[in-house]
Amino acid sequence: MEFLLAITIGVLYAASFYLLLRRGVVRVVLGIALLSQAVNLLIFTAGGLREGAVPFIADGQEVLAATSADPLPQALILTAIVISFGVLAFTLAMVHRADQATGTDDVDDLKGTDAT
């Protein structure tokens, strides 16, 4: 399972970097969205996969059994999803405004402020 997820994460990273390197600014935004998904999956996998080990404290026990899954990575991912959602919404609005202000969606044409 880890192997499969590792491959998926790699593919997601590759796809998102491909999109980030494209000239169309909307593709760049999609690249960012994909990148945050890749990271979430990475946290999920790095946090350790454990099948069928619900992190509930059993009856009569005081603490979590050592064999149960770790719920914290999912809490981290949840936080990251919320943040990346907000950031993505902002980025889309920004790209729209940039398109209006500059009249182009080609990153190569946004060179007016670049250091020469």
């Binding site: 960012i32 946090g47 950031v87 202000a101």
Partner: protein, 504 residues
């Protein structure tokens, strides 16, 4: 309530108040400035509490560390919060005259305070994932400040600024995830203990992820290109607070993780930092030499100065770290001040272009003096603050007690040469803007700015210049703080014991 919590609550409450009274400009302006005054008071109290070497730890919900999220105020954090509050106040006052009413109505003060909220949070947190969240709070507010107004150059700069910073955030997040997967903890003090048991190659790899993430934010070589492409586009007040604070949050984060967590393979990690510091100093200063836009030139100098701070961190001796801390607060004050001056010359002379400015020495001698102080300080002329900052770092490089041997000497020589080139850049501005006679049709005129606004612009600049002079004339007082902070940073067990309470 303790000063640590107050330092976070003040900007949050101010920002919310500004949003609540979005329709009333006078109220927004009063809140905007008053909030910064309160924050300054709170950060002075925090400084008084931890100045003696005590590390203040706040455990949320009384959950014991490392299970709950903690806020930790050691001397470095307290110093950074204090300097941020000083810059925040200066910029808030300056904004009254500099930021136009349209941007103010769109919520400028609210986002300025939200950004301060994120900055203070990033300095005070003791949890690495929590730091990520504070970074995001800071970043998204800075995104809004960068875009506010929606002018064409602003949007062009913003696209690069936003995209690259988001990529850096994703590296940061991935690094947190891997670190958690390996150690099972996110508390930085706990990480300092448990990371030593990680497989060394994995630890180094994670360190590199953090280096990329924080390096992008701090604008070190070769990750700095977004900075000179974007920092000169928003209103002057915004670029001043960005120039002063944001990259330094990245430097602070680098200092935190590379003194606390990643100290097991210093030769590799800090050696890499050493090389990057050299390239950062040189490329920044060379980039600045060809610039003729006031703010773009200053932006390249941010990059170059970041190199000095990273150099101090990389040398990793108590003197070098103390020099870095000293450099941090000297630099924040001076750099923000120079940006603020560039706003004044633009208002008087109508341009940021050095070629279109001129004759300021005759027309506005006070402005000339107020530029001269921070500019010479940046160039490292004694007895100004920059001299002592550079002196400490170069001395640490030449001391010979680093693990890098001859390379430390080489880098110290590079630092000296870069200092000279910085001085060259500053004299270029001086010659172009202040000494050169005004170009035809571009004579600077004080009357371009109404009298009341003039004082709002000059007041903060004069105050920051006075602070530069104070640091320069009483360096021992300030260096003592830096040295004690370096003492804490070089002995992570002090931090660890304060947070974990000797449970390990």
């Amino acid at each position: 309530m303790n000063a640590v919590t107050l330092a976070l609550l003040t900007p949050l409450v101010t920002a919310v108040l500004c949003l609540l009274f979005l329709r009333s400009l006078p109220l927004q302006r009063s809140f905007g400035v008053a909030g910064m005054v309160v924050l300054l008071g709170v950060s002075l109290r925090l400084m008084a509490e931890v100045g003696g070497g005590h590390i203040e730890v706040v455990r949320f919900g009384n959950w014991p560390a490392p299970f709950g999220i903690v806020l930790v105020a050691d001397l470095l954090a307290a110093i950074m919060v204090l300097v941020s509050a000083i810059i925040g106040l200066a910029v808030a006052v300056y904004s009254l005259a500099d930021v136009d009413a349209r941007r103010e109505r769109l919520g400028y003060y609210a986002f300025l305070h939200f950004m301060m909220f994120g900055v203070c949070g990033a300095f005070l947190t003791g949890d690495i994932f929590n730091m990520f969240v504070w970074f995001e709070v800071m970043l998204i507010s800075s995104f809004v400040l960068m875009c506010l107004g929606g002018e064409k150059p602003q949007m062009e700069g913003a696209v690069k600024y936003v995209v690259l910073n988001l990529i850096s955030s994703s590296f940061f997040l991935a690094a947190c995830g891997i670190l958690y997967g390996q150690t099972g903890t996110l508390n930085m003090a706990d990480l300092a203990v448990t990371a030593r048991e990680m497989r060394p190659e994995l630890l180094t790899m994670t360190a590199m992820l953090f280096l990329v993430a924080f390096g992008l934010k701090a604008a070190i070589f070769p990750l700095f290109f977004w900075l000179p492409a974007s920092y000169h586009t928003p209103p002057v007040a915004v670029s001043a607070v960005f120039a002063g604070l944001l990259t330094k949050v990245g430097v602070y984060a680098l200092m935190r993780v590379f003194t606390l967590i990643f100290t097991s393979d210093v030769l590799l990690t800090h050696g890499l930092l050493l090389g990057l510091a050299g390239f950062t100093m040189v490329t920044g200063v060379l980039g600045a030499m060809v610039q003729f836009d006031f703010r773009r030139l200053l932006s390249f100098h941010i990059v170059s100065q970041i190199g000095y701070m990273v150099l101090g961190l990389a040398l990793f001796t108590p003197l070098a770290i103390a020099g870095t801390v000293f450099y941090l607060f000297h630099h924040i004050v001076v750099k923000a001040n120079l940006f603020l001056v560039s706003g004044i010359t633009r208002r008087y002379g109508g341009s940021f272009d050095l070629k279109k400015l001129g004759g300021f020495y005759a027309a506005a001698p006070l402005v000339a003096l107020l530029f001269f102080i921070p500019a010479m300080s940046l160039g490292g002329i004694p007895p100004l603050s920059g001299f002592f900052a550079k002196f400490a770092i170069v001395k640490a490089g030449l001391a010979g007690d680093t693990i890098f041997g001859g390379w430390a000497t080489v880098l110290a020589a590079v630092a000296l040469a870069v200092g000279l080139l910085t001085l060259f850049s500053m004299t270029k501005i001086w010659a172009e803007v202040f000494w050169k006679p005004a170009p035809e049709g571009h004579a600077p005129h004080r009357g371009n700015v109404p009298r009341a606004e003039r004082w709002l612009l000059l007041g903060p600049v004069a105050a920051l210049a006075a602070l530069t002079l104070a640091i320069g004339f009483f360096p021992q007082f300030f260096f003592d703080f830096a040295a004690r902070s370096a003492e804490q940073l070089m002995h992570p067990e002090i931090y660890i014991n304060a947070v974990l309470g000797g449970t390990t």
